[in-house]
Symmetry: C2
Subunit: 654 residues, 2 copies
């Protein structure tokens, strides 16, 4: 094997890690001169790390059993790849969250000296996560490829990453939303105290939850998307173009890393400038550099044949367009969110119905755009084109995730500012940074959903190649049965995670109500609430409730493949991709729209805070919480996990 | 062609019609000796008939244009079949609703002399609808077969029936739920007056809505299911067994009609007896007679080969089992509904989340049972077996629909009793009859959903045969794109109908609030509210809002077939069946569960009426209204309509 190009690709991965280390050093060097901030930040960090530690410990038996089974059935290489994938995913989550939970307090403190300083710290914190994910991802894949040289074996690396990601997303999502719903419904609605008020017993659990859900969960999520898109393309490419087909997606990834690192230098804001513009500049310049790089790499690798460049460009364009559509359906600047706010005037039920309607409708354009990207990919690069367009969408993960992870850091900084009694100006700066993050994150979400669909399709194609089927014929009743079962899984999965949040939230509500009732002086601020019991409720719920949906995703495809055969398993993948994508978009966007409808009313529309319209909007927001932060994003992982399970285990079913 | 057997089949259809006429005569002969009841019943009847008239008039251009296009592109027979199908569907809706709106007042009056008399009138009213649907259905199909002799041409008859059904379900569903939501939210929640209180301006619209939605809409729905299952089986059977394959489903239908007529004689209750038992006896005896008849018909037609009998039996068994599962998820006797009631204790948001979770989860077993029926059908009768098991499920429509339509009649009778000031005992009798109807209707719903899935599959198979595809390969990206678009349509369709109800309900709420505010003496009962303006709001909303979802269902398959080809259209059908079935079950059951959770609390659990838990449950019920009565049942029609459109137009896309 010629190692030069592999060294080059791995080199960009190392570069990303070095970059993350340098940035981490800078964050560490930033000193916080406020005892309260330091104390709160460290409470949150300890809570978050403790949860992550327990979560990983709980996953060890699962990982060990699967590794042994893989080794027994498919040989040592699969077991090794799976283990390394799982460990890489866990480490990126750990590293990213460690830095993020350091950055939140520093961001809050930096905000005392202005917007610019706060933006810098928060973005730096996010970029450590972003660069770690892509660096570890590329290095891991290259290492496995050097060791085993077969993309279908490396699929186990993706399997490891996906399974950790699913548990992390579901567990983190349940943790954060149980705390959030509990804190909001009793604190804000019943007791009438503001968000992040230290008198609220669930406030620490809520802030810890933001980290384990939005940071660690999202990191594992994007790590999984990133490596699986690359592995799927390598797998399909190896069949069609041999080594060149394997190398191309890795080069795209390398170009994306360089573009992302360069892009970070465009994220700068003058005092009084617009942070929105700064982040957008970072994304746009990264995207432009990525496209430029892809152009040259494609021309060089395929002797001037630019077909695949167009396939990738189609993917990137539709990903950005999906992000734009997402913004239209979830931002208060456009009609859908205003409609939900309007519907809040006539009460709870019309608010809920309106949000569900908006969410379902919002799946329309994204699905059309995914179809367009598929057709463009096929036209210019066949099935390989679809796979490459997914890689193209995700190659800028380094930057996209930096922006994504920046949001929760700013959000947490706001919470710390509130709780530690920093001046009101600080909170208004962090609020602004948070709001900016939400908007920019829409593009990231668009890329995530679009690429999930395309990656799942590519994995599906790779599966079809691996089991050597001439056709997965929909007219075959077994395929149809598979399609039904596959289509069902995202519904069951969503139901399980929503019910889990609901149950945990009910316990949290009861506990918060109990503390308000039984601890004297709690409302006057003279007695401290018992934060730990709320943290325990969230932790226990997350660890208990993540088991069934997580296992289901791994076990059902195996059972269907074993009992109904490879055709039915193909149908299952098709069905799960379709309903999974629809439900994911529906739930994510409905949740986002409800959230922003509430904020829109809080800005003073329809009477503002304290009106019945506002009360209705708060309920909508609460319903949307597990939609957008637990079930919705987990579905993106679910469909890829099932596809990668099918691909890895394909040899057993033939 | 040998007309003897066709005459025999048509004869049972004539028998059903005669039966309906005799029963109608008896209902007419029943005299109501209460002026208030007569007046109210006639107001409701006039309102309902006026709406139906306007609805049909609005559909004339659509029917005319489609007929002309069909005639132009496929020849006169298709156009004639389409027109006859549309007219048959409209007439059964008309006839059934006419009798039902006569029976409601008579049921209320009969209840003054006891449960037994009331049950008899209500069930007689429902059975006119049931028998008319099957009679007209069988006669129509036989007539078209005698005329043209080709099941693929007769598919246009199903097309006509389906398109009218979709508009009727969507229009009726929007009408009834806009009125219901408006009446409930302002009347019950805000003003605190009971259901069906004559002081509520939306009360007449609400009662009219029950008829146009639950009676006319459901009749058109089941007419469509019934004829399409038969046509699909004829179409598939003709390819495999020739005339015998065409005759078998018609014989099943004939057996079902005879069984249903005989079954009505088992519906009788002694004074003080259990009406639940009476209805169940009717269903069970009909089912038993149907199975017995199928056994002999199969043995006779296939020379002792009972394979198809097992296929049919599998269908019937899984349909009944789906009904049982439906009851578990929607009846207050079981855990899911109790969980929702429990979740209402912690407020609106947890009630909503719990209901959504229960609804999504409730899709699990029904889908598994549909898969089981499919596999059993295939094992014993190949693709034809699937089609026959759907016919088996629906053959007892005569009885199932009688029981289904009985429910809304009893419900309406209760409203009339309330408004006309009949003694409290009357209302308690009608309430009991209504509750019994709800439970027994669960089995009917199970049959409807199961048969919709199987019928859609059978139509899909017939489509595959008609376009002569060797495979509809999921690995083909065009099929996958079709699958995505098909999977999207039920979401968009649901969104449109939910938003339509939401918008109309908001208008209704504003109007009812306005009347309460502006009409002096309305709350004291000294001034009559302005019922007509509420009727107008529902009517206008229904007629306006049914257009887009209805047209979408017809136009999108045509566009996909035309622009992306027959493979993509196959994918579209597959995708729409999968998400359509899931969403239909989710929405119907979530709505039913919310409804019964509210009733459970009203019985005194969790503090009963007037508590915050009850308020939360009322909101859940309101959210569930358009789920279970507008979007959910319409989806059953949608998936079959799209399949039948594809089948009819298949020759154009080859």
């Amino acid at each position: 094997m010629d190692y030069t190009w592999l060294g080059l690709v791995a080199g960009t991965g190392v570069l990303a890690i070095l970059f993350a280390m340098v940035v981490t050093g800078r964050i560490n060097a930033f000193k916080v001169d406020n005892e309260n901030v330091v104390r709160l930040s460290s409470i949150i960090q300890r809570g978050a790390m403790a949860f992550l530690y327990r979560e990983y410990k709980a996953l060890i038996p699962f990982v060990a059993i699967v590794a042994v089974l893989l080794g027994y059935k498919l040989g040592l290489p699969s077991a090794v790849c799976f283990l390394v994938g799982a460990v890489c995913s866990a480490s990126t989550g750990y590293a990213g969250m460690r830095v993020a939970t350091k950055s939140n307090g520093k961001t809050a403190f930096a905000a005392t000296s202005g917007m610019n300083a706060a933006l810098r710290v928060a973005f730096q914190g996010g970029s450590v996560m972003g660069m770690t994910v892509v660096g570890v991802g590329v290095i891991g894949i290259v290492a496995m490829y050097v060791l085993y040289g077969d993309p279908n074996v490396i699929a186990s690396f993706g399997f490891g990453a996906s399974s950790i990601a699913l548990f992390a997303r579901v567990g983190g999502g349940i943790y954060t939303k149980a705390a959030d719903v509990g804190a909001d419904l009793v604190g804000k609605v019943e007791a009438g105290i503001p968000e992040d008020d230290p008198r609220n017993p669930a406030v620490i659990a809520d802030n810890v939850g933001d980290n384990v859900g939005d940071i660690a969960g999202m990191g594992a999520d994007l790590f999984e998307s990133y490596v699986n898109s690359i592995i799927a393309a390598m797998s399909v490419g190896a069949m069609i173009y041999g080594t060149a087909g394997v190398a191309y997606p890795l080069f795209l990834a390398a170009v994306g890393i360089v573009a992302s690192i360069l892009g970070t230098f465009f994220v700068r804001v003058k005092e009084g400038g617009d942070p929105q513009l700064a982040l957008r500049m970072g994304l746009i310049s990264t995207g432009a550099l990525m496209i430029l790089g892809t152009f040259f790499v494609t021309r060089w690798m395929f002797q001037g044949d630019l077909s695949l460049f167009w396939a990738v460009l189609g993917g990137v364009a539709s990903g950005v367009a999906i992000g734009y559509v997402t913004e239209i359906y979830t931002s208060a600047s456009y009609r859908p969110v205003k409609e939900i706010a309007e519907a809040s005037n006539t009460g709870y039920a019309t608010n809920i119905l309106s949000g569900i309607g908006v969410g379902m409708k919002s799946a329309g354009w994204p699905v059309v755009l995914i179809c367009a990207a598929t057709l463009v990919g096929v036209k210019f690069g066949g099935l390989y084109g679809i796979a490459c367009s997914a890689v193209g969408m995700l190659a800028i993960t380094g930057m996209a995730l930096s922006v994504d992870a920046y949001g929760p850091i700013a959000d947490n900084a706001g919470g710390i500012a509130e709780m530690s009694g920093l001046p009101k100006t600080v909170r208004s700066i962090t609020d602004k940074l948070d709001a900016v993050g939400n908007t920019t994150a829409a593009i990231g979400k668009g890329l995530a959903i679009g690429s999930a669909a395309l990656t799942a399709l590519a994995l599906f194609v790779a599966y079809g190649q691996a089991v050597k089927l001439s056709a997965i014929d929909l007219k075959d009743p077994h395929v149809m049965v598979g399609l039904f079962i596959g289509g069902l899984l995202p519904f069951i999965f969503s139901a399980l995670s929503i019910q889990a949040v609901g149950r945990a939230a009910q316990k949290m509500i009861d506990e918060v109500r109990r503390q308000f009732r039984e601890i004297p002086g709690i409302m006057e601020g003279t007695a401290e609430p018992h934060y730990e019991s709320c943290v325990d409720i969230s932790t226990a719920a997350a660890l208990r409730e993540m088991v069934v949906p997580g296992l289901m995703a791994v076990i059902v495809p195996v059972l269907v493949g074993y009992f109904l055969g490879v055709h039915a398993l193909g149908g299952l993948l098709g069905g799960s991709i379709v309903t999974g994508v629809m439900l994911a978009i529906f739930m994510s966007n409905a949740g986002g729209a409800w959230d922003n409808a509430k904020k829109y009313i809080e800005e003073g529309h329809h009477g503002g805070k304290g009106t019945p319209a506002h009360a209705a909007a708060v309920v909508g927001d609460t319903v949307g919480d597990p939609f957008k932060d637990t079930a919705g994003p987990s579905l993106n992982i679910l469909i890829k996990l099932m596809s990668v399970v099918a691909l890895v285990l394909a040899p057993l079913f033939i």
